[in-house]
Amino acid sequence: GAGVSQTPSNKVTEKGKYVELRCDPISGHTALYWYRQSLGQGPEFLIYFQGTGAADDSGLPNDRFFAVRPEGSVSTLKIQRTERGDSAVYLCASSLLGGTGANVLTFGAGSRLTVL
């Protein structure tokens, strides 16, 4: 597609439930990133993929968070046993990697997760 698409745009769930957030990157972008943004803060890095593999998952806060990108395109961020502190906007971005110069990310509009 023309841009990075994220679904759902809003998700309200109850504490303890399982949630999946989907990201559809720009076609041909090899790298995909997940960030989490709390109110009034900058985006916090979670994980990034090069192709199908997670190149860096050092930002995942704990083992309740997991992400996959099985075919090197669409990615799903999975959160188990959600907690109220997981409430945030989850941003996805994609970029072309492999060239020289700075890494320019194109972001989606985000998925707002509210855990009650």
């Binding site: 960030y35 803060q41 890095f45 990034y48 110069g101 890494n103 990310l105 972001f107 989606g108």
Partner: protein, 110 residues
């Protein structure tokens, strides 16, 4: 992890005023990016600065990269309500994931 400090954290000004926001670090960067994020949207790239001392202009926005490539500033002339948003900086270090500062939240009042 490269720590970026952005200041001020919040800024509220009247339409037509000028302002400068800052992005500082103790690390040297090969390049630095500025993004703007509007409410309900993801961040959008404004500019990448690469060379120490470089100045780039984008209409009423002027970006400068410090000579030592450790800091950067963004100056807005005659601010407009459409400039309202969260301004983020991040080092654009090759293929590594971007680590953002906390941002400066700008509100321009008509």
């Amino acid at each position: 992890t490269q720590l970026l400090e952005q200041s001020p954290q919040f800024l509220s000004i009247q339409e037509g005023e000028n302002l400068t926001v800052y992005c500082n670090s103790s690390s040297v960067f090969s390049s630095l990016q500025w993004y703007r994020q509007e409410p309900g949207e993801g961040p959008v790239l404004l500019v990448t600065v690469v060379t120490g001392g470089e100045v780039k202009k984008l209409k009423r926005l002027t970006f400068q990269f410090g000579d030592a490539r450790k800091d950067s500033s963004l100056h807005i002339t005659a601010a407009q309500p459409g400039d309202t948003g969260l301004y983020l900086c991040a080092p654009g270090e090759g293929n590594t994931p971007l680590v953002f500062g906390k941002g400066t939240r700008l509100s321009v009042i008509a």
